[in-house]
C-alpha cells in the first residue's frame, strides 16, 4: 500500500513543488529531494524481501485494475530511478542557478513517479498509462524552455516517435491481453505474432533502437539534468525493461537480438562522428541500449545476468558523464569538444570523476563496467560476439574522446572557474560507486543483481557474481577490446573527420530521421490533397455530393436486390390521374426553362396544385386543404421576398449544367423506380372506408369531409390553423418591413 500512496504523494508534490518554490526555493528543492530519497530508502529496505504486490479495482468488468508488483527486477529499476533521482534533483536545482527551478523540479518528480509506475505496474493498462505519462512529462521536460522554437520542435519529435510507439505498444498489450485472457503481466503466459511485433515496436521507439533511434540525440535540446535523467539513466530504459519483463514468454527473439546489435554498432559509430559532448553521449547511450536489447533478446541465463549488470553499470556512469557535461558547458560556455581542452587543471575533481566513469564505460577493471562487459562477452558467441566486440571497442574510443580529450590535452582558457564540492559531489559519488560496486561485486550481486537476473530470466540463476573469473576467453576478448579501443583512440581525430565527411556526402534524404519527417510531411500533404479533392467549399458541390452519395447507395441496393420488375400493382389509373401527372410533370420541366422568377414560382405553384388535386382525387380532403393553404402561402412569401433578391442570373457553365441534368435525371429515375417498387408492396387503402362508415355514428355528421376536418382530425386542423396564423404573422412582418423601407426611401 505504501507504493500506491507514495506514487500519489509524488504526483501531488509535482504540483506542490512549483507553487511552493515561489515561496521558498530552497525548501522546495529539499522537499523534492526528500521525496525521492524516501522512495530510495523504501526500495533499499525491500532488498532481499519477497515480491511486493498490490492491486486496486479500476474497471473490474473489463478485468482491468491498478495493479503493482515489485519483484527484484523491478526493484533494481526502482532503486536506480529514485537513487539517481535524488542526485539529479539536487543537480537540477543548482543547474538552474538564479533562474526559477520550480517547474523543472515539479516535472522531474512527475516523471519519476510515472517511471516508477512503469517499472512496478503489473497490469498492462496501468503500465500503458504510466508509459504515456513518461512520454508526456518527457515532452514537457524537453520543451521546458518552451519559448525556444528548437526545444519545441525536438520535444514534438520525441513525443511523436514515442507516442506512436506507445500506440503500437497499446495495440500489442491489448492483443496480448485478449489472447491470454488477462491483463496481468505476471499472468501472461505466451506472447507471439502480432502482439509481440507491436509491443517490440513500442519498446524500440522508447529505447531508441534502430531504426527509431534518431529522436534521442535531438532530445538533447533539453536541459542537462533532463538529459541525464530521462535520456540516459531511466526513461530510455523503459523499453529494455518491458522487453526484459516479457522475455520469458517471448517468441522469435533472434530478430530483437539482431536489431539490438545493429543499434549497438551504429550508435557507437555515430558517436565517434560528433563534436557536441551531449550528442556524443546520446549516441553512446543508443549504443548501450542496443547492447542491452541484444542481451535481452538472447534470452539465456548468462545473458540475463549480463543485461542486469549492464543496465546497472550504464546508469551509474552515464548519469555521471551527462551531469559532468553540463558542468563543462557551464564552465566553458560550449559543448563542442574541439573547442575545449586542458580542463583537468581548473576542474581537477571533475576530471578524476570523469576518468572513473570513462573507465567504467570502456570496461576497465576493477570498475563495474568491466564486470558487465565480461558477463556480456561470456553470453555472446559467433557473429554476435564479433559485432559486440567491435561496438565495445568503438565504445572505448568514445570513452576516450569524452574523458581524455577535453581534460588532459591542450590548455584551458583562463576564464574557467574551479568547481565547488556541492557542484561535483553527485558526479563524484556516482563515479565512486562505479568503482566501489566493481570491487564489491559479490556483495551487490548477491543482494540485488542476482535476484534481478533471476526474475528477468524467469528461472533461478546459480551463477556467482565476481570480479575475477580467471583466465578465460571472456578476459581475452576484454583485453582485446581495450587494446583495439586504445589503438583506435589514438586515431580518433581522423575517425571523426572521416565519419563527418561520409555523413556530409550522404545526402540528408537517406537518414531515418528524414524518412520519418517525410512520412509526417506525406500525411500533411495528403491532408492538403484531401482538402482540395474532397473538401468542397461551394454549396452546389455540397449538394451534389449528397445526391451522388444517395444515388450510390441506391444503386447498390438495386444491384443487391434487383430492379423492381413488376411494374404496376396499384389501382388502374383513370384519365384524370394521368392528366394530373402529366400536367405536374410539364409544369416542373417548364419551370427549369422560364427566365423569370415570377414565372418559375407560378409554375411551381401549378405543380403544387396538381398534387393537391391528386390528394383530393384519392379522397384525402384534409390533406388537400393543407396543401392548398401551404402552396398559397409559399407563393405569397416568394413574391414578398422577391424585392430583396438579386436578379435571376445564369451562373452555371455548360458542363455544370450537363452534370446537373445527369444528377437530376439519375435521382428522378431512381425515385421513380422506387415508387414503382413500392406499388409491388401495395396495401389496400382502408382508412377512407373507416371514415365513411363512422361519419354518422361517430361524428354525427353526414358530410364526410366536414367530419374528418372538424371531428376526426380536429386537433390536426387546430395545429394547421396555428401554423397558418404564425405564417400569416410572418407575412405581415414582411409587408410592414417593406412599407417602412418604402416610406424611408420615398
Amino acid at each position: 500500500m505504501f507504493l500506491i500512496w507514495y506514487l500519489v504523494a509524488c504526483f501531488g508534490s509535482a504540483i506542490v513543488v512549483p507553487v511552493f518554490s515561489n515561496v521558498s526555493r530552497k525548501a522546495a528543492a529539499w522537499f523534492a529531494i526528500g521525496i525521492a530519497a524516501l522512495g530510495f530508502g523504501w526500495g533499499v529496505s525491500l532488498v532481499g524481501s519477497p515480491v511486493t504486490s498490490i492491486s486496486l479495482p479500476w474497471l473490474p468488468d473489463y478485468g482491468i485494475q491498478f495493479a503493482f508488483r515489485l519483484d527484484s527486477y523491478s526493484l533494481l529499476f526502482w532503486l536506480l530511478i529514485t537513487g539517481i533521482g535524488v542526485l539529479v534533483l539536487d543537480y537540477a536545482d543548482k543547474y538552474m542557478g538564479e533562474k526559477p527551478a520550480g517547474r523543472l523540479l515539479g516535472w522531474l518528480i512527475a516523471f519519476m513517479a510515472s517511471m516508477l509506475a512503469v517499472v512496478s505496474a503489473d497490469d498492462a493498462i496501468t503500465l500503458f498509462v504510466a508509459w504515456e505519462a513518461t512520454s508526456l512529462s518527457s515532452f514537457a521536460l524537453i520543451s521546458i524552455k518552451f519559448t525556444d522554437e528548437k526545444s519545441r520542435k525536438s520535444a514534438t519529435q520525441a513525443l511523436l516517435v514515442t507516442g506512436m510507439g506507445g500506440l503500437f505498444l497499446f495495440g500489442g498489450l491489448l492483443w496480448a491481453g485478449v489472447e491470454n485472457n488477462t491483463f496481468q503481466l505476471s499472468q501472461i503466459s505466451s506472447l507471439s505474432g502480432l502482439a509481440l511485433v507491436l509491443i517490440t515496436i513500442g519498446c524500440f521507439a522508447k529505447s531508441a533502437q534502430w531504426p527509431l533511434h534518431f529522436w534521442l540525440p535531438n532530445a538533447m535540446a533539453a536541459p542537462t539534468p533532463v538529459s541525464s535523467y530521462l535520456h540516459s539513466a531511466t526513461m530510455v530504459k523503459a523499453g529494455v525493461y518491458l522487453l526484459g519483463r516479457l522475455s520469458p514468454v517471448m517468441g522469435f527473439q533472434p530478430v530483437i537480438h539482431w536489431f539490438g546489435l545493429i543499434t549497438a554498432f551504429w550508435g557507437a559509430t555515430l558517436a565517434l562522428g560528433e563534436r557536441d559532448l551531449k550528442k556524443i553521449l546520446a549516441w553512446s547511450t543508443v549504443a548501450a541500449l542496443g547492447q542491452m536489447v541484444a542481451l535481452v533478446g538472447l534470452g539465456t541465463e548468462t545473458a540475463a545476468k549480463a543485461a542486469v549488470l549492464l543496465i546497472f553499470a550504464h546508469s551509474l556512469y552515464k548519469a555521471a558523464l551527462f551531469m559532468g557535461a553540463g558542468l563543462i558547458e557551464k564552465a566553458t560556455g560550449t559543448r563542442d569538444m574541439t573547442q575545449v581542452g586542458g580542463l583537468a587543471k581548473p576542474l581537477r575533481p571533475l576530471a578524476i570523476a570523469f576518468a572513473f566513469a570513462g573507465l567504467s564505460m570502456a570496461g576497465f577493471p576493477p570498475l563495474i563496467g568491466f564486470v558487465a562487459k565480461e558477463a556480456a562477452l561470456e553470453a555472446f558467441s559467433g557473429l554476435s560476439l564479433a559485432v559486440f566486440v567491435a561496438s565495445s571497442a568503438l565504445g572505448c574510443v568514445v570513452a576516450w574522446n569524452v574523458t581524455y580529450l577535453p581534460f588532459w590535452r591542450g590548455e584551458a582558457p583562463e576564464t574557467v572557474q574551479s568547481l565547488k564540492l556541492t557542484e561535483w559531489g553527485g558526479i563524484g559519488l556516482l563515479s565512486g560507486l562505479s568503482l566501489a560496486f566493481g570491487i564489491a561485486i559479490p556483495l551487490i550481486g548477491g543482494a540485488l543483481l542476482g535476484p534481478a537476473a533471476s526474475s528477468l530470466s524467469g528461472s533461478e540463476i546459480a551463477k556467482k557474481f565476481s570480479l575475477w573469473h580467471g583466465f578465460n576467453f571472456a578476459l581475452l576478448f576484454s583485453v582485446l577490446v581495450l587494446v583495439v579501443g586504445f589503438l583506435l583512440a589514438t586515431q580518433s581525430l581522423w575517425i571523426r573527420t572521416t565519419i563527418e565527411g561520409v555523413r556530409k556526402r550522404l545526402t540528408p534524404s537517406t537518414g531515418w530521421e528524414t524518412f520519418a519527417k517525410n512520412g509526417l510531411k506525406a500525411i500533411l500533404t495528403s491532408g492538403w490533397d484531401f482538402s482540395r479533392v474532397v473538401i468542397k467549399t461551394s454549396f452546389r458541390q455540397h449538394l451534389e455530393l449528397y445526391f451522388v452519395a444517395f444515388l450510390g447507395l441506391g444503386l447498390l441496393i438495386f444491384l443487391l436486390k434487383g430492379f423492381p420488375i413488376a411494374f404496376w400493382h396499384g389501382p388502374t389509373p383513370t384519365p384524370i390521374d394521368v392528366a394530373l401527372a402529366v400536367f405536374a410533370s410539364l409544369a416542373a420541366i417548364a419551370a427549369l426553362f422560364v427566365p423569370s422568377r415570377l414565372g418559375t414560382v407560378t409554375l411551381l405553384g401549378i405543380v403544387g396544385v396538381s398534387i393537391t388535386l391528386t390528394y383530393v382525387k384519392f379522397s384525402a380532403p384534409d390533406l388537400g386543404l393543407t396543401q392548398v393553404l401551404v402552396e398559397t402561402l409559399t407563393v405569397v412569401l416568394f413574391v414578398l421576398v422577391f424585392a430583396y433578391l438579386p436578379r435571376f442570373t445564369s451562373i452555371s457553365t455548360k458542363s455544370q449544367k450537363v452534370k446537373d441534368l445527369a444528377l437530376a435525371l439519375g435521382f428522378g429515375s431512381m425515385m421513380g423506380a422506387l415508387m414503382l417498387g413500392v406499388f409491388t408492396f401495395g396495401k389496400e387503402s382502408t382508412i377512407s372506408n373507416f371514415f365513411a362508415e363512422q361519419s354518422v355514428p361517430g361524428a354525427k355528421g353526414s358530410n364526410v369531409v366536414n367530419t374528418i376536418i372538424v371531428d376526426f382530425r380536429a386537433l390536426d386542423t387546430f395545429g394547421e390553423i396555428t401554423v397558418l396564423a404564425v405564417a400569416a404573422m410572418g407575412v405581415h412582418a414582411l409587408v410592414r418591413l417593406r412599407l417602412q423601407s418604402q416610406g424611408r426611401t420615398g
Partner: protein
C-alpha cells in the same frame, strides 16, 4: 361506441416534466426579453440557467427507473434516453453560462439567444426520449430550426449569415430525406414506431427488401447529416467556423448527442437487416474518421480545425455504436454514452477557451490568435491544453478512457478494421491538437500583438467543470454501470423486445384502434415537410 372510439390516453406527466420545464423557461425568457426594463440579459441568463438546472434535477431521479412509455407510446423513458438527456441539459448549461460576456464582446448580446437555445435543447431532449420516428422528427426540427437561427446570431457578419443559410439549406434537404424515409417506414409497417418497425422486420424477414433498404438508406442520409458523417459532413466546418463560438459549443455537444441518440434507436430497429447496412456504415465510419482528421491537419483556423475534429469524433462514436450493434454482448451502449459525455466536456471546454479570443466585435480564432495565451490567461490556456490532450486520447485523461473503451469494444465485437482505423486516426489527430497546444505556448514577442477578452466568472465555472469532466475517475463507474444496465434492448436477445408495452398498435390493427396511431401522422408531416 363513442367511448371505445376515443380513449384519452393516460399521461404520466413526470416523464415529460424536464422537457416541459425547459420549454416553459424558454417562454419566460422570451417574455422577459420583451418587457425587460434594462438593456441587459442578466435576468434572462439567470432564469435560463435555473431552468436547465431544474430540468437536470428532475432528470436525476429518473435514472435507473424501469422503462415506460406515455402519451400513447409516443414518449419513451429508458435509461439510455435519460442519460443522454442529462448530457444534453448539462451541455446546454455549460455553453450558456459563458455566453453572455462573449456575446457582449462581439456586440451580439441579443436576448433571444437564450430562449432559442432552450428550445433547441428541448428538441434535443425530445429526440432521445422517443422511439417514434415522428416524435424524433419533431424533436429534430425543433432543434434544427432553432440552431439555424442561432448560427446566424451575428447578423452583421457575412460569415455568420453564410453559416446559417448553408446550414439551413442543407439541413432542409436532410430533413426531406429523413421524412421520405419515415414515410417509407410507415408504408411498410403502417406505423411510425420503431418498435413496430423492428418487429415487422424480425417477424417477416425479407419483407419487401427493396423498400426496407431504401427506407433505411433515406434515414441514414438524414441522420448522417445531423451526426456529420462523411459524405454528409460538408456543412460542419463552415457552420462551426461561422457561427458565434458559444453557439458552436452548444451545437457541437447538444445537437450531436441528440442525433446519435436517435440514430442509435433507428439503427437498432433496423438490426434484422443489418447485413445490408453494416458494411456500408463501416465504410462510412472509416471515411468519417479519416477525412475529418486529414482535413483538420491543414486548417489555419482553430474553430474550423475543431469542426473537422468533431467529424472525426463522430466517427469514433460510430465505432462504439457499430460495435454494440454488431455484438450487444461485447459492445455496449455505455461506451457510446460515456464517449458522448466526455466529448461534451472536451468540446465545450475548448470552445469556451476560444471564446476568450473574441475582442471588440470580431473574433480571433486563427492559430496566431492563440499565441501567448499562456501568459495572458494561464487558467484558460492550461485547460485548453488539457482538453487537447484529452481529445488526442492520451492517458490518463478521460479521452483516453473513452477511446480505449471503444477500441476494446470494437475488437471484442469482431470489428478489428474499425479498431485499427481508430488507432491510426488518433495518432494522426495528435498532430493538429498539438499544433493548438504549441500555439498557446508561442511567445507573443515577435508574433502578432494579440489580445483577448478578460476572464469572467461564467467562463471560469464552465472551464473548471469541463476540466473536472475530463478526469477519467468520473467515468469509470459510469462505464461499469453502463455495461450492465444501459441497453436499448438487451431485449433483442431475450425476446423481451416483443413483449414491451409499446404503442398499443398490433401489427394488423383493428380499424377502431388505428385512429389514434394514424391521425397525427399524415397531415402533420405534410405541414412540417413544406
Amino acid at each position: 361506441m363513442q367511448s371505445e372510439l376515443y380513449t384519452i390516453p393516460s399521461i404520466d406527466w413526470s416523464l415529460v416534466m424536464p422537457f416541459i420545464v425547459v420549454v416553459i423557461t424558454g417562454v419566460i425568457g422570451l417574455l422577459i426579453e420583451m418587457f425587460r426594463p434594462k438593456q441587459n440579459n442578466n435576468a434572462i441568463v439567470l432564469v435560463s440557467l435555473a431552468g436547465l438546472a431544474g430540468a437536470f434535477a428532475l432528470l436525476i431521479p429518473q435514472l435507473g427507473v424501469t422503462t415506460t412509455t406515455t402519451f400513447a407510446g409516443m414518449v419513451l423513458r429508458d435509461q439510455f434516453g435519460v442519460l443522454l438527456q442529462l448530457i444534453i441539459v448539462a451541455g446546454a448549461f455549460l455553453s450558456l453560462i459563458f455566453s453572455e460576456p462573449y456575446m457582449k464582446q462581439r456586440r451580439i448580446a441579443h436576448g433571444e439567444f437564450y430562449p432559442m437555445a432552450l428550445w433547441a435543447t428541448s428538441g434535443a431532449m425530445l429526440m432521445v426520449s422517443s422511439d417514434n420516428l415522428l416524435m424524433i422528427f419533431v424533436g429534430l426540427e425543433v432543434l434544427s430550426i432553432a440552431l439555424y437561427c442561432l448560427a446566424g446570431l451575428a447578423r452583421d457578419e457575412q460569415r455568420s449569415e453564410e453559416a446559417a443559410l448553408k446550414y439551413f439549406l442543407l439541413g432542409a434537404f436532410a430533413s426531406a430525406f429523413l421524412l421520405y424515409g419515415i414515410a417509407f417506414v410507415y408504408g411498410i409497417t403502417g406505423s411510425t414506431s420503431l418498435a413496430v418497425f423492428m418487429e415487422t422486420l424480425a417477424r417477416a424477414p425479407g419483407i419487401n427488401d427493396l423498400t426496407v433498404l431504401f427506407a433505411i438508406t433515406l434515414l441514414l442520409v438524414g441522420f448522417g447529416f445531423k451526426t456529420a458523417l462523411v459524405p454528409f459532413h460538408q456543412w460542419t466546418p463552415d457552420v462551426y467556423q461561422g457561427a458565434p463560438t458559444n453557439v458552436t459549443a452548444f451545437m457541437s455537444a447538444v445537437s450531436k448527442v441528440a442525433a446519435f441518440g436517435a440514430f442509435a434507436r433507428v439503427l437498432e430497429a433496423s438490426l434484422p437487416v443489418q447485413e445490408f447496412w453494416m458494411p456500408a456504415l463501416i465504410v462510412i465510419t472509416i471515411l468519417t474518421m479519416t477525412v475529418g482528421n486529414l482535413a483538420a491537419l491543414v486548417q489555419k483556423d482553430v474553430k474550423r480545425a475543431l469542426g473537422y475534429s468533431s467529424i472525426a469524433h463522430a466517427g469514433y462514436v460510430m465505432v462504439a455504436l457499430l460495435a454494440y450493434l454488431q455484438d450487444p454482448a461485447k459492445g455496449s451502449l455505455g461506451t457510446v454514452i460515456t464517449y458522448l459525455a466526455i466529448y461534451t466536456f472536451m468540446t465545450i471546454g475548448s470552445f469556451a477557451v476560444l471564446s476568450l479570443t473574441a475582442v471588440n466585435k470580431s473574433e480571433g480564432t486563427r492559430y496566431q490568435d492563440l499565441y501567448g495565451l499562456w501568459n495572458r490567461a494561464p487558467l484558460a490556456a492550461g485547460c485548453l491544453v488539457l482538453f487537447m490532450v484529452s481529445l488526442v486520447g492520451v492517458p490518463p485523461t478521460a479521452g483516453f478512457l473513452g477511446k480505449f473503451q471503444i477500441f476494446q469494444d470494437a475488437m471484442g465485437a469482431g470489428l478489428p478494421l474499425l479498431a485499427i482505423a481508430l488507432a491510426i486516426n488518433s495518432f494522426v489527430s495528435a498532430y493538429y491538437y498539438l499544433q493548438i497546444v504549441r500555439a498557446v505556448f508561442v511567445d507573443e514577442e515577435g508574433a502578432l500583438r494579440v489580445q483577448s477578452a478578460p476572464m469572467n466568472a461564467g467562463l471560469r465555472f464552465a472551464l473548471v467543470i469541463c476540466a473536472v469532466g475530463v478526469m477519467p475517475i468520473l467515468f469509470a463507474p459510469i462505464l461499469s454501470q453502463g455495461k450492465q444496465t444501459v441497453t436499448l434492448s438487451k431485449m433483442i436477445e431475450s425476446g423481451a423486445f416483443l413483449q414491451r408495452p409499446v404503442a398499443s398498435v398490433p401489427l394488423n390493427p383493428e380499424p377502431g384502434e388505428k385512429v389514434e396511431q394514424i391521425t397525427p401522422s399524415a397531415p402533420l408531416s405534410t405541414v412540417t415537410g413544406n
